[in-house]
């Protein structure tokens, strides 16, 4: 029946877009649960240092990627749309870098200032 309908309104069926089997949403939902549990366990088992950071960032980016790609349907959009949204976001890496540099400098000057106060 679905086939017959599609034949009757080929344009309408195309225009409606973004129709995907329910299974893919359930699978991604399950994956997000697993990834959230994993990132919670990073804290629960008190991982430290670079391992902690690596795991947190990896789980964070995987979750973000799954949500944007499947739940928000980015996977099925045209590239002009995908790039218009994702490329400007990359600019934030510059702000992140500036923030880190500034923070290190502030921390250093505070260290010098408080050290001077001791003598």
């Amino acid at each position: 029946m679905a086939h017959a309908e599609a034949q009757q309104h080929p344009v309408a069926a195309h225009a409606e877009g973004q129709q995907h089997p329910i299974g893919i949403y359930l699978k991604i939902w399950g994956l997000l649960f697993v990834l959230s549990t994993a990132s919670y366990l990073v804290d629960y088992f008190h991982f430290h240092g670079y391992l902690r950071w690596f795991l947190i960032i990896v789980f964070m980016l995987l979750k973000a990627g799954l949500i944007v790609a499947v739940f928000m349907h980015m996977l099925w959009e045209r590239l002009a749309m995908v790039y218009a949204i994702l490329v400007p976001t990359l600019l934030l890496m510059v702000l992140l870098g500036i923030g880190a540099l500034e923070a290190d400098y502030t921390f250093f000057t505070r260290g010098v200032f408080f050290l001077k106060g001791l003598f």
Binding site: V11, E16, G17, Q18, Q19, H20, I22, Y25, L26, I28, W29, L32, F33, S36, S39, Y40, V42, D43, Y44, R52, I56, I57, F59, M60, K63, A64, I67, V68, V70, F71, M72, H73, E77, R78, L79, A80, M81, Y83, A84, I85, P88, T89, L92, L95, L96, G99, A100, E102, A103, D104, T106, F107, R110, G111, F114
Partner: protein, 241 residues
Amino acid sequence: MTQASRTSTGQALPLPEGIQGIVADWSSDQRAFKNVPWGKAMMWIFLLSDTFIFSSFLISYMTVRMSTTDPWPNPSEVFGLELFGKSIPLLLIAIMTFVLISSSGTMAMAVKFGYEKNRKMTFILLLCTAALGATFVGMQAFEWTKLIVHEGIRPWGNPLGAAQFGAAFFMITGFHGTHVSIGVIFLLIVATKVIRGDLDHERPGFMTGRKGKYEIVEIMGLYWHFVDLVWVFIFAVFYLW
């Protein structure tokens, strides 16, 4: 008065894919976003601007946290929950995360049933999403109460360590909570439209002449998934750092 008949906007030529497709879409001297309803493209643009707002908050938080010489309060302990006489680290936050992810799952399915014109399932799933969202806001209110009343945390200082903790916490989670609350209201409005049959009968919405279509469920979904997306980043950099 006669209305000019609308010429078909269907594509005469197949759209090229890949990099060629990007160049063709942007240089087409028409709308750049093909195959995407106008409202959806605008929601994406709004979400992009919102991304920059939340990123500014999170990056400023990183900057103050890295530059403070006082010890940062340990979020694992601050947000722990006492259960059966045992304190479990970050339990409340973990539950909030699962609640929000579940609401994203029900939202995604609501969009699917919406495009299938399954009015009842769309309505039920939208209500589930709104209920989970409201649960999230409720738990956040509980968390704020605990921090303000029992731990004495204020935006200008706290007894646990670095003064910047309160400012960053209330600003970031407050802004996110506001987004969730607005999302719940937005969900209830869309759910009402769905169950009334406004979308099936293409009734125009409030303050617009555009016909009601099931794509508004997807546009609503984009906003809701974005709220979940922001929480993923807050969870990682605020609570797990």
